[in-house]
Amino acid sequence: MKLAAKLENLTKHYVLKSETVRALRGVSFDVPEGDYVAIMGPSGSGKSTLLNLLGCLDRPTSGAMYLGDANVAKMNDNQLSYTRATRIGFVFQSYNLIQQLTVVENIEVPLYYQGRLSKSDRARCLELAEMVGLKDRLGHRPAQLSGGQQQRVAIARSLVNDPYFVLADEPTGNLDSVTTDEILRLFENLNQLGKTIILVTHEDEVSAHAKRVIRLRDGLVQTDELTKNRIVLN
């Protein structure tokens, strides 16, 4: 099976004044295409560090991480930027839409940084907006949308570059239970369409929707198993 991401013995050390913090001490796992993984762990477990590495926002101290054939660990800043623009879709807890831009312009941003914006790209943006149910809100600004709607825009944005995987960091952290269900249903639909999803969360109710749960503790993978009693909404 083709892999969306492959992590080999990743470590990340931070040097703070006199002491060295070992945030990750050798993490290895594969994410096959079409998987739906939840990464969990208490605070201080290395969850955020792993998220930053998966999102190509940072480089590991040692080890290797492959997205396709490319080893992200060896990339320079511009290559990392390009990788983020082309292979990763981000969804954040606080949506992080750009306030000056309309819904459709926000969806386009990753394409803009790939240096392309053709007519077909524009059509694709509209398609995605329709898919997340915001077809009639294209010209609105983020401030005119509810939290759930903003998160839908963010999800559409994360898909526009056809990424290897969508990396969602506590995507329901700011939402009420009804909207949380809506967003999780959307993820489930996307996964059924073949999209790979990596979900970082500390809530069991959220991780219960994933196919597989990886638990971190003290910078190491504690457990990596398929979800028991998986909740399927559709």
């Binding site: 999102g55 926002l57 930027s81 623009a85 992080n96 914006l117």
Partner: protein, 443 residues
């Protein structure tokens, strides 16, 4: 296409805070406007000086009689004071200085002139036929004083335009006779001059000359009929002066010789007049120097204003952009996460500063173009509110008409863009150097 988007985004971001943007742009706008103004006013001063020199003749030297400030002791008791240029000086200069092409003696005085019921005070100028050519008078009808008239000392006169207007409101003056009240003498009008702009004053020794109130008569007639001595009685006491010539205008064979001849003339006269300073040598060419100095002063002054406001404007832009970068840390983080390279972030913020300074530049160019009407208006107001202040200014400044230099518009515009890039680079660099992880976490 992508550049267009960057620009659109930049402008959108600026429009989020229109007031802030407008205030930030103020410094650039003043700087750019000053650049255009200083060049326009400088150009105006140059042209004005050139026009005045044309009016006076760059190859001319004027020697004027000047009433000595401290009359010599011997003549202090006499109530008639003799001073100034002598006919003897005239002959001496013409004979001894080879660079003089021609010399024109002039005697002038104020006289009451009457026709029918109208009496006005005029400047009566005794002169020779060359006068018209040297002072660039042109005749509308009739003829100027001729050699024959000078020779036979005829009672003929030529009137300036305003004299005609006031003495002959309803009649044709040609052939009529005007009455000189003090001498009880009649002069036949043989010519009328065209209207003429006054010339400038030079360095305090030559007043601005208004030719519109003149009556020209042959110099020989003046000597014979009026004489050299003028007596004025005021309040019971009588005062008088004897002046043979008020002015000698010399024409020099080449402009290069003007300065040297002027020095020579000065020396000759000083020797001849026993060290009494009762003459002044005036070189219109000096007007050019004077104008150059005034222009320099203006350029330095306005240049300073422009430089300071551009600097302050630039710092203002930098300040605001640094604040904006901090304010938008989160946005920078998001953009970096979505694939923006450092260069993309630099470009985004640089475009915003350039957009701001271009806006300032455009407004500045617009206000710069308003320079001529604004100067006119300001002059009008100052004239009405503080006439003394206007009178105290040098001529070139008082009468300046700013002329927009076409090249100053692209120049000023380029300056504003350069300022934008210069002061925008550092904030943009700061934005690009942010760690995306830190930036994303920023609240």
């Amino acid at each position: 296409m992508l550049w267009l988007r960057t620009w659109r985004l930049g402008i959108k971001s600026l429009l989020l805070h229109p007031m802030r943007t407008a205030l930030t742009v103020l410094g650039i706008f003043i700087g750019v406007a000053s650049v255009i103004w200083l060049l326009a006013i400088g150009e105006g001063i140059s042209r004005e000086a050139q026009r005045q020199i044309e009016g006076l003749g760059a190859d001319n030297i004027m020697i004027r009689s000047v009433k000595p400030l401290n009359p010599p002791e011997a003549s202090a008791s006499a109530f008639i004071l003799p001073y100034g240029l002598l006919r003897e000086d005239y002959a001496l200069l013409v004979e001894t200085i080879p660079t003089i092409k021609s010399a024109l003696p002039i005697r002038e005085m104020r006289r009451m002139v009457r026709y029918a019921d109208n009496t006005i005070e005029c400047r009566v100028v005794g002169c020779t036929p060359e006068y018209a050519e040297v002072t660039r008078l042109s005749i509308e009808r009739g003829h100027f004083i001729t050699d024959a008239e000078v020779k036979v000392m005829q009672n003929h006169c030529v009137l300036a335009s305003q004299v005609v207007e006031r003495l002959f409101p309803y009649e044709d003056p040609l052939g009529r006779r005007v009455y000189f009240q003090d001498q009880k003498d009649y002069y036949t009008v043989v010519g009328i001059c065209r209207d003429r702009a006054p010339t400038a004053a030079i360095g305090g020794s030559l007043d601005a000359q208004d030719f519109s109130n003149d009556v020209y008569i042959p110099i020989s007639t003046m000597r014979k009929r009026i004489g050299d001595t003028i007596v004025m009685s005021s309040g019971g006491s009588r005062e008088g002066e004897t002046v043979e010539l008020n002015q000698i205008t010399l024409r020099i064979d080449s402009i290069n010789n003007v300065q040297r001849t002027a020095e020579l003339v000065e020396e000759t006269l000083l020797k001849n007049h026993g060290k009494i300073k009762d003459t002044a040598v005036i070189v219109p060419l000096e007007l050019l120097e004077q104008a150059k100095r005034t222009k320099m002063m203006f350029m330095v002054f306005m240049g300073l204003i422009a430089a300071i406001s551009l600097l302050v404007g630039g710092i203002g832009i930098m300040n605001i952009m640094l604040a904006t970068v901090t304010e938008r840390t989160r946005e920078i983080g998001v953009r970096r996460a979505l694939g923006a390279r450092r260069a993309d972030i630099v470009r985004q913020f640089l475009v915003e500063t350039i957009a701001m300074s271009v806006l300032g530049g455009l407004v500045g160019v617009g206000v710069g173009l308003l320079c001529p009407p604004v100067i006119d208006g300001a002059r009008l107001i100052v004239k009405r509110v503080a006439p003394d202040m206007i009178a105290g200014l040098p001529d070139v400044v008082r009468d300046v008409t700013p002329i927009i230099v076409p090249a100053s518009i692209p120049l000023a515009f380029c300056i504003s863009v350069v300022i934008g890039v210069m002061f925008g680079l550092y904030p943009a660099y700061r934005a690009a150097q942010m760690d995306p992880i830190e930036a994303l976490r920023h609240e």
